[in-house]
């Protein structure tokens, strides 16, 4: 069925509002093909896939770094890596996974899907969009190159807390290169965020009011605001470290009147919302997968939208919960503690609404749906351990222990990465015109879920028992559990390898998918499944005009 309605002649909703925009642009514009076409493209779909490709390459490196960490930690007294290199691995695993994998992957889905979902032909600023993507190449390149400079890559943790990240304690240029990489990735995020906000606010098809936008668009709109407000603060904070390192300032040097705790405030003002930056679009992805494969509409759309907005606002009021042990005042700690717990409420609204979405549906257990269901289960675990950590007395006990490592991996791997898997399996047919193999996908799913839980569940236990995080060797008592954790890593690594094979395998097959390969659009009523797979350049021959009920589905 078509969502498009032929507007009556002379209707104000006609695309004639944009008189110099050709009705069938892909016939009017000749695009270069081949490699040159990809490199010079400003098409949001091409850029979206470039983002996703970069994220996949980044994941191979980030995953390999995790493998090195787990190899070192398999037993308590190994010396697989030198302690300096181990710290560099810890730092770069986090930096790559955050700045080159999860954020770009979500930006990739955002780039690809947001214009289509709102009925636009491209982003508002296509060249700026290409600029945002290509900035990530030197950012990743700087991180990679820093391994080969004197002193090696940055080893002060991805948090880069001074004084450890200052010249006196991290001598080589590794930290400087890391800071410049963060600047570039930050600039990429900021320009991308501006692009998303302008696109969503101005380029929605006639008939698509804000409260009819698909949830994925909503999550990206809120996300873009978080990036726009938070990222400049991070850039400022790391710039101050750069100045302290190379230009003799003393922002964070106690001897010069500076304060290391100030850096923590600035850093977490960005880096706590960054957690939501990494998980909100994943919320959007799984919302659509859950609704589609239950053959229902999303439950409580309005509540879901407000929950996303609430998470966005509250996310900026909680940064202090990373600093409960730093000696800040009890009243301030109580404030940050309570605000952090309050975030559980809108997050809970989303969990209950997802459960209500699948309730009473006719569930098809595709790989995408399995990942989406697993997301709910795993994210609840990460959320509850988050509520524990929000309580100051408990946090004082397990702060900076493996309990925290377990918590944020349940949120970021169980949440963001599982959501990305669900999104990939769901939208791959739209993007490429081909299905990913469900058979291989089942193996990917079970290996990932088993490996993921085997890796991160026991970390709660060693954390409570007293194993601090970011340590190169540890007391013998923790060896048995760490052995298991390293074993779990192998499951995740195998799953990742199979996943990449599955993508290559699928891309070698002919394109067979029609507009609506999953057969879901009679219920979902989404623009995404109303155009060919893959969509033509500029997506729509005519700017769609939406009927009343469209189109909260995705």
């Amino acid at each position: 069925m078509s969502l498009l309605e032929t507007p009556p002649p002379g209707s104000s909703a006609q695309p004639s509002k944009r008189p110099d925009f050709p009705e069938t642009p892909h016939k009017a514009v000749r695009l270069p093909g081949g490699i040159l076409g990809i490199l010079s493209s400003t098409d949001h779909k091409v850029l979206g896939m470039l983002y996703l490709g970069l994220a996949l390459i980044g994941a191979v490196f980030g995953g390999a770094f995790a493998g090195a960490i787990r190899a070192q930690l398999t037993s308590h007294d190994l010396e697989v890596l030198s302690p300096e290199f181990y710290n560099a691995m810890v730092t770069m695993h986090a930096s790559v996974m955050i700045f080159v994998v999860i954020i770009p992957a979500l930006a990739g889905f955002g780039n690809y899907l947001v214009p289509i979902m709102i009925g636009a032909r491209d982003m508002a600023f296509p060249r700026l969009n290409a600029f945002s993507f290509w900035l990530l190449i030197p950012a990743g390149g700087l991180m990679a190159a820093s391994f080969f400079v004197q002193g090696g890559a940055a080893a002060a943790g991805w948090t880069a807390y001074p004084p450890l990240s200052l010249k006196e304690y991290s001598g080589g240029p590794g930290v400087d290169m890391w800071i410049l990489a963060v600047h570039l990735a930050g600039l990429s995020s900021i320009t991308g965020a501006i692009n998303f906000i302008v696109t969503v606010m101005n380029m929605r098809a006639p008939g698509m009011s804000l409260m009819k936008m698909p949830l994925f668009v909503w999550t990206w709109l809120v996300n873009a605001w978080l990036i726009l407000i938070g990222t400049p603060v991070l850039s400022g904070a790391v710039t101050m470290v750069l100045l302290d390192r190379g230009f003799g300032t003393g922002f964070f040097k106690p001897a010069l009147g500076g304060d290391p705790v100030l850096y923590q405030h600035l850093f977490w003002f960005y880096s706590h919302p960054a957690v939501y930056i990494m998980v909100l679009p994943a919320f959007g992805l799984i919302s659509h997968a859950l609704a589609a494969f239950s053959r229902k509409r999303i439950f409580g759309y309005t509540g879901m939208v407000w929950a996303v907005c609430a998470i966005g606002v509250l996310g900026f009021l909680v940064w202090g919960h990373h600093m409960f042990t730093a000696g800040i005042s009890p009243e301030l700690r109580l404030w940050f503690s309570f605000m952090t717990m309050v975030i559980a409420v809108p997050t809970g609204v989303k969990i209950w609404s997802w459960l209500a979405t699948i309730w009473g549906g006719t569930i098809r257990f595709t790989v995408s749906m399995k990942f989406a269901l697993a997301f709910i289960s795993l994210f609840v675990i990460g959320g509850i351990s988050g509520v524990w950590l929000a309580n100051v007395p408990i946090d004082l006990q397990v702060h900076d222990s493996y309990f925290v490592v377990a918590h944020f991996h349940y949120v970021l791997v169980g949440g963001a990465v599982t959501g990305l898997f669900a999104g990939t399996y769901f939208y791959f047919p739209k993007m490429s015109g081909r299905f990913l193999s469900e058979k291989i996908g089942n193996a990917v799913f079970w290996l990932f879920i088993l490996g993921m839980n085997l890796t991160f569940l026991p970390m709660h236990l060693v954390g409570v028992q007293g194993m601090a995080r970011r340590i190169w060797q540890y007391r013998e008592e923790f060896a048995a559990i760490n052995h298991l954790i390293s074993f779990g890593y192998l499951g995740m690594a195998a799953s990742g390898a199979l996943f990449i094979y599955s993508i290559i395998d699928a891309l070698r097959k002919p394109k067979t998918c029609g507009n609506d390969p999953w057969g879901i659009n009679d219920v979902q009523k989404s623009l995404v499944w109303d155009i060919p797979s893959p969509p033509p350049p500029y997506n729509f021959d005519k700017i769609p005009v939406l009927k009343g009920t469209a189109s909260t589905g995705g």
């Binding site: 239950s294 809970g348 257990f365 194993m467 559990i481």
Partner: protein
Amino acid sequence: MKLNWKAGAISALGVLAAAAAYAGAGGDADSPITNLFNEPVTPIAHTVRSYWIFVALITGVFLILPQIILFWCIAKFKDAPGRKPATFHENIKLEIFWTVIPILVLVVMAVPSYPIIKKIENPPPADMRIEIIGRQFLWEYRYPEFGDVRISDEPLVIPVDKTVVADCTSADVLHAWWVPAFGVKIDTVPGRLTQIWFNVEEQGWYKGQCAELCGSLHSQMYIDVRVVSQEEFEEWIIDRGGTIPAGNSLAQNS
């Protein structure tokens, strides 16, 4: 597909059970740190433990309930020929219910944490004061009231059943002093003084670890605390060239 879910779930449970058994078998039962959850030995640790159990019981409901509903849905609402999906997509009463109830629960949970924070923050009258200084990559302890005895890179020695207040700072980068059985952790920040206190109820050997990344040998900044009787402590101080002040509350008590 049915077989698939079942087989997967069973193997998942099997692997996790094996994992738990394996993990439980390891470790040396004599050292305090390996007690599954570090037996608390200070007033703070006891308070934190009971508060933790309280929080775990409350949040446990919200941990288990969604999982039960999720698996119920997976089992119950499979696609099958002839089955039609429900069409409801909102219910204001339900949505208000699951927004308001968690807020009330959070208030009930959060309010008792304030007195605990105050208790941790405000030590009772000190029996003795010590200084803890983090340094790459060892801990330095000072006893200013006992002839300024200074030790570094060896276990902290303190008497049992005395309120020990520690002023903490760092000589270089951030460190964090953490002994799980004491229920305390505090960052040592260069240029700042932070404070913790503990009153250990049982003699013994307690283990901890630096908990803030501080450079290449961060992992080697182990913390060991020997909690001894008053007599042993005084002997040890004198052995280290210190003095026992006559008017000291420690000496009076003993």
